[in-house]
Amino acid sequence: MSTAGMRRGGTALVVLGLLGLIALYWMAFFWVSTEVNQGVVQRIFYVHVPAAWTSFLAIGFAALASGMYLWLRDDRLDRAALCAIEGGLVFATLVLTTGPLWGKIAWGTYWTWEPRLTLTLLLWFIFVGYFMVRNSTEDPEKGKRFAAVVAIVGAMDIPFIHLSVIWFRSLHPEPVVAKPDGPTLPGDMLATLLFGVLVFSLLFFGLFLFRYAVEGLRAEADLRARSVA
């Protein structure tokens, strides 16, 4: 896809995503019924969970692109991984900020070692590690390889972290465990949630394409600057 094509595609997805976001806000505020146990604060769920989903999508996508990069050494794959990780960092930050807002009301404390929250926190650190490694080498190629290794090992570790934090949770049960279990949700809540996931995925991919176009232009600019020098 050309850079211009990517920007057109990105614009289309972002506009679609924004319209979807408006619809999602409307659904979350006015349409969906209030959860009985937790009350209104449970509505955070409709942005919290899609954001978490998107950040996992991001690391999976980045790990895939990184693996392909190590194999094929095509800079475009590395750029795709970089852009996905950046998006993942944004969405993981969203999860980590909305989570405590919910937790304070639902559990009376800003932070609990709830498995998914813990998992996202660790994922956030993996994202940060990716950037630290990438920016701390003198030879950019080396930084790209190192970062790719971080993304791949990070993604591989996710299932282990997930299982372990759930197990850790079961070892120390809390008096109030309000775990939103997807499939047992009432129909309208499930619909809102799934719609939220769709909207966030659209926004992620739209902005990802934009970000990717920027990286492509930057590579072009670097190339041009070099041939002039």
């Binding site: 614009t11 972002v14 506009v15 924004l18 976001l21 408006i22 806000y25 409307w26 979350a28 505020f29 006015f30 009350g39 209104v40 604060v41 509505r43 955070i44 942005v47 919290h48 954001a51 950046e86 998006g87 944004v90 930050t93 969203l94 900020t97 909305t98 807002l101 919910w102 304070k104 009301i105 926004l203 902005l207 934009f210 970000r211 176009a213 920027v214 232009l217 930057r218 072009e220 600019a221 041009r224 600057a225």
Partner: protein
């Protein structure tokens, strides 16, 4: 993104916010409770609003930063 797009989005978001505040006001007005208790009950609403505002701030912030970088690179390429 063009400025007109940004303006349109901002307007619709503002409209949505006004609608949401009115909706909440109606809902909480419908609950006859002592003022201290009402304040207590409003807190979850603020948390929900903060969370939904954060979504806009963070995703919008990312979009704006991408747009700024895009412009900087385009300037570099135009030179």
């Amino acid at each position: 993104m063009k400025n007109s797009t940004i303006r349109a989005v901002a307007l619709s978001l503002a409209a949505l916010a006004i609608m949401a505040v009115r909706g909440v006001a109606q809902e909480s007005a419908a609950m006859p409770q002592a003022s201290a208790l009402a304040e207590q009950n409003l807190r979850p609403y603020w948390h929900v609003f903060a969370a939904y505002a954060l979504v806009i701030v963070l995703i919008g912030g990312w979009a704006v930063s991408i747009a700024r970088r895009l412009r900087a690179i385009e300037d570099r390429l135009a030179d």
